[in-house]
Amino acid sequence: MTAIRTRWHHSILARAGLILLGVLLLFGAVTVAINLHYNRARAEQATELRLSQLLDTVESTASIACFTRDDVLAGELIAGLLRNSEVLSVVVEADGVPLADSSRQATDAAAAVTPDSRVLVRDIYSPFSPQTPVGRVLLTPNQALIDQELRQETRILMLQMAMQLLLVALAFAAATLLLIIRPIKAISDRLHGMDATRGERLQVPAGHRGSEIGLLVADVNRLADRLVRTLEDERALRIQREIDEQRYHAIFENADTGLFQIDHQGLLSSWNPAFARLMGLSSETRPERELALLDLDWHDPQPLAELLSDCRNTGGNPRRDSGAQDTPRTQSAELRHTHPDGVERWLSVVLTPITDRSVQGVLHDVTHHLEAEQSARRLAVTDRITGMANQLGLEQRLRALIQASDPEAEPPRPERAIALVLISLDNFKRLSSGLDPAIGDALLTETARRLSSGIEGANLIARVGENQFALLMADPAPALEIERMLEQVFADAQQPVFIAGAPLTLTLSGGIAFHTGTVANPVATLFQHADLALASAQAGPGGPICFFDPDLARLAQERHQLETDLRHAIRDGQFVPFFQPLVDLQRGALVGAEVLIRWQHPQRGLVPPNAFIPLAEETGLINDMGRWILESAGRQLAAWQHAGRDLYLSVNVSAHQIPKGLTPDALHELAQRLGFAPASLALEITESILISDVDGAQAWLDAVRARGFRVFLDDFGTGYSSLSYLKRFTVDRLKIDQGFIRDLATNAGDRALVEAVTAIADSFGMQVVAEGVEDAEHVRRLRAMGCHYGQGYFFSPPVPLDAFSEVGRRIPELMQPFLDAAPGSNPEPAS
């Protein structure tokens, strides 16, 4: 590329030169003009001065001439003056009258006397009296000469100036050429041929390292650096973009999910093969025809259209300043689509707006997914074994029914009665525990079938528990009909089921509850009521089918409250041990006491044990209570033993505490820790213990006795015990239930019984305690029968510890009369 040449009149030198020339010329002209003006004035002044001096020289002669009015002299004088080239004309006047005059010959027009020529006037005075004027000399200067001289001078000056200016201009031109033009030209030439990308840069012209040109060169080089860098960055970006585009393209083409783009009109602008496959587009429809997304065989294009407009409205405008609000919002939905091959599928469509008002979309087949979801949902509410609905399904249906009949809904719905029946297969667990699980399942299935076929008018039958079914009835028949129907169904279901040859018979019970209008938690409440009804049916005496009684709820509530109170009592120590003295009937002495737990309820006061013991046993709180009682008893025993008193204490032990709630080791540890002799602690158990858990009880019994503790059998004669148990279980004492003692005086049968028991006990080496000794007669008779110990109101009711010592002290005097009487004497004849 050739260097660009500038036109000569564009070049710096020419322009600057021209400017300079112009300025200089102007300056020169101005100077010359000024000079001219001043010079003229000066010249004129100088001329005037000279002429004045000239006049001075002739003054004396002029004065003589004028004095004597000598015109010749005056003429001579004038002639003399005129010899001076600066004089144009002279006039000598004497006394106002011209004496002589003359003027120079006019050689050119300028020499003519112009009206405004300056005339020098010199007054001439008498030579002999200087104050007396005698005449005048009027001298007209030769303007022409002055002008000529002036012109001459001006010419010279102009020439001089021109020379100077020329020199200056030349110097300037030279300097500019050297310092500016040449370096710039050099730079320009180099720039043309320079390839910045190859690293070529400008060189600083010699001598310009610190000058503006040098700085310019440095800046240009820096710019070149920056540009080259930018270029490289751009290139890198471009390469990256190409890579990304290739990647995108690969993904686009090979993706399994359908990808597509639609423009602002809703027409498909691009789509990938997967999309074509899903939507059944043939490859021929590649960009020739315009396809609108909405036109593709959707089952219902409306939601899609809405989706599209939502998508467009929310975002994609990059020019707005507010950030977060306008981030593109992706919209998605699942829509049904009919493929050209006839198959209906569910397709998930996800739309995202992109900046230029287009929309990007992802499409994939979710048919299986949805079906799986639906199936899962169905499974969630279905019982696996029977195929009926499960608890979840039932609750859903129940909730729906309740909502559908809510009079307070908007719009109000007519109130319908809803009933829930809970059916329990009471013995199922027991039956199936020893069987193959498959047999259990078969049993359930068969029972389910029988129930389903037998029940009429049920909205839904469900299996809600391992051995529980439930019926949901909307607008149920009257209660009586329900009951009858259920009885029929139960009868059918309770027929033996033959599985693997063996007959299995179930027992059923049912609880029925009705949905009442406005409760906080209708579903839970209904279940709760039905549950209570069922429990009542199972536990109570009246029939296998029970309707919910509001009292049941109340009772349940009370029970719950009691249980809570009981827990608090245990935690807060609201229990108090009461002691009922045990008296040796033969010797008439206090030998010990039965420790009975009493509950000081903060609100209810002293709560009797039969109000809370059964609940404690059911809830397992009995263990804590038992431990507490034993602790108190043990401490008291230790205190007595420390004081040297030989008394024992007996503590009631519930069947529920055996064998795990009160281990022999724990007892042993207790005795060790509190420091009392094990023999002084007796544990009272009832016969029922021995019946229910025979082996465990026996082991416990033996272990406890092995540790040195004593065991009494309480309420003897009231349970299902057989006499053989006495043989099997070794206890230390029998306590005859008060029922036998009460009518001792009047009932011979009781007497015989007591006697007999006493005799049996004796033979086994056991002692007997009579419970419920109420009067002296009892004492006498018991003594006569040989009964060893007694306990009852005659001696004292159960009292707190502080009262016990007092009570205990009175025992001897109470018994004294009996001891005084002959042993074995019987005031009344046996009848």
Partner: protein, 154 residues
């Protein structure tokens, strides 16, 4: 002749006074022939006559000035008192005028008698004497340096 005597007396007094001053010009009298018909000339007229400005007597007669060329002192005093110029200056003056030919310098009288004779013979002749040279053949027309009137050069 009473007047002349008075003038003489006055002259004497003034002279006496004037003796003490720095050497001033001694008085000079400007005279004419008694037959001239004039008995008075003004100073200016005398100047005009003697210096060639206007050689006419008040009676329109042409005036002829006469110098006492040999009496240097007298000439000196005369011109000194008249125009306060030295004889050299007067000579220089006349040098220029002679050149043009328009005016002639005053005639030159050798001595007093010559002067008197010229006065008698030349109508309109005017000369000057010392006061002690005065006789009845002369008429004084102007007195210079007598202490009367303004001195020249003031």
């Amino acid at each position: 002749m009473e007047r002349r005597t008075g003038a003489h007396l006055l002259l004497a007094i003034v002279l006496a006074i004037g003796v003490g001053a720095a050497r001033a010009a001694e008085p000079v009298l400007v005279v004419m022939d008694p037959a001239s018909g004039l008995d008075r000339l003004t100073r200016e007229q005398v100047i005009n006559i003697f210096l060639g400005r206007f050689r006419r007597l008040p009676n329109a007669q042409a005036a002829v000035p006469i110098d006492r060329s040999r009496d240097e002192a007298l000439m000196t005093d005369f011109y000194r008192l008249l125009v306060d110029k030295s004889p050299a200056e007067i000579r220089a003056y006349w040098a220029r005028l002679v050149f043009s030919g328009k005016t002639e310098p005053p005639q030159k009288a050798h001595d007093l008698d010559d002067m008197i004779e010229r006065l008698a013979n030349t109508p309109g002749a005017v000369a000057y004497i010392r006061p002690d040279e005065l006789s009845e053949r002369l008429r004084v027309v102007l007195g210079l340096g007598l202490g009367l009137g303004p001195e020249p050069g003031r």
